[in-house]
């Protein structure tokens, strides 16, 4: 089971976990990314491509499913306007074996940062607003999997 979603609504992590829990998989590894509130950030806006963002997520998910032995995989990415503390992204990989679940989860979050069409803009308390520049560290982490 591969589930991929791009949504404006808040991510319901408990509901996503319930689906994997019902599967009785031996191991589930998850990652939650949240909006950080440093530097007087008041809003994070995430722009996406109406067609290509979800397709890109699905591509990354299918590569992970081919590479590791997974019994279920969920990737949910929120888009639009978010406040500090809000969940931006949730990745959940389940497998009979913990090493597979852990590696797939890490792969997915690394690849999301560099391979999926999403752009972050930060707005600060003083009114400043800026697009987030890609980080070299993210590119290097993603390239570890090539």
């Amino acid at each position: 089971m591969i589930r991929v979603a791009v949504q404006d609504a808040a991510i319901d992590i408990a509901a996503e976990l319930d689906i994997h829990d019902a599967g009785g998989h031996g191991a589930s590894a998850s990652f939650i990314g949240r909006v950080r509130g440093e530097g007087d950030l008041v809003e994070l806006f995430l722009e996406h491509h109406p067609l290509l963002t979800e397709a890109g997520l699905a591509d990354v998910a299918h590569v992970a499913a081919d590479r590791w032995s997974l019994s279920a995989l969920t990737v949910v990415h929120r888009v639009g306007a978010m406040a500090p503390g809000d969940t931006i992204v949730f990745v959940l990989a389940s497998s009979a074996h913990r090493a597979e679940a852990l590696a797939a989860c890490e792969y997915l979050i690394d690849r999301l940062k560099t391979d999926v069409m999403l752009w972050k803009r930060e707005r600060f308390v003083d009114g400043r607003s800026a697009w987030v520049e890609p980080r070299e560290g993210d590119r290097k982490r993603a390239a570890r999997w090539d």
Binding site: E47, H49, L112, K113, M117, L118, W119, W131, P134, R135
Partner: protein, 83 residues
């Protein structure tokens, strides 16, 4: 032939529009050709694409390089910052 160009993030903001349709100009056959043509078309294009290396592209829904041949749809955008 008609070409639909969509812009995202700061590329969209600098161009001042999200999408436009043009007739493909003569001699414009690759992503790099189109970016050079947009940069030469007007001042907005010149400012947006002053550093072509900062811009990424997708052609007909697939990530594309500067040498990729154009199709019907092309998206132009900065490097992604999701996750």
């Amino acid at each position: 032939m008609a070409l639909t160009i969509s812009y995202f993030a700061w590329v969209r903001e600098r161009m001042g529009i999200g999408e436009e349709s043009i007739e493909r100009p003569v001699g414009v056959s690759t992503v790099a050709d189109l970016i050079a043509w947009l940069a030469a078309r007007d001042e907005r294009g010149g400012l947006t694409f002053s550093e072509p290396g900062r811009v990424r592209a997708a052609v007909d829904g697939r990530m594309a390089g500067p040498g990729t041949a154009l199709g019907r749809d092309i998206a132009l955008f900065p490097p992604v910052t999701g996750g």
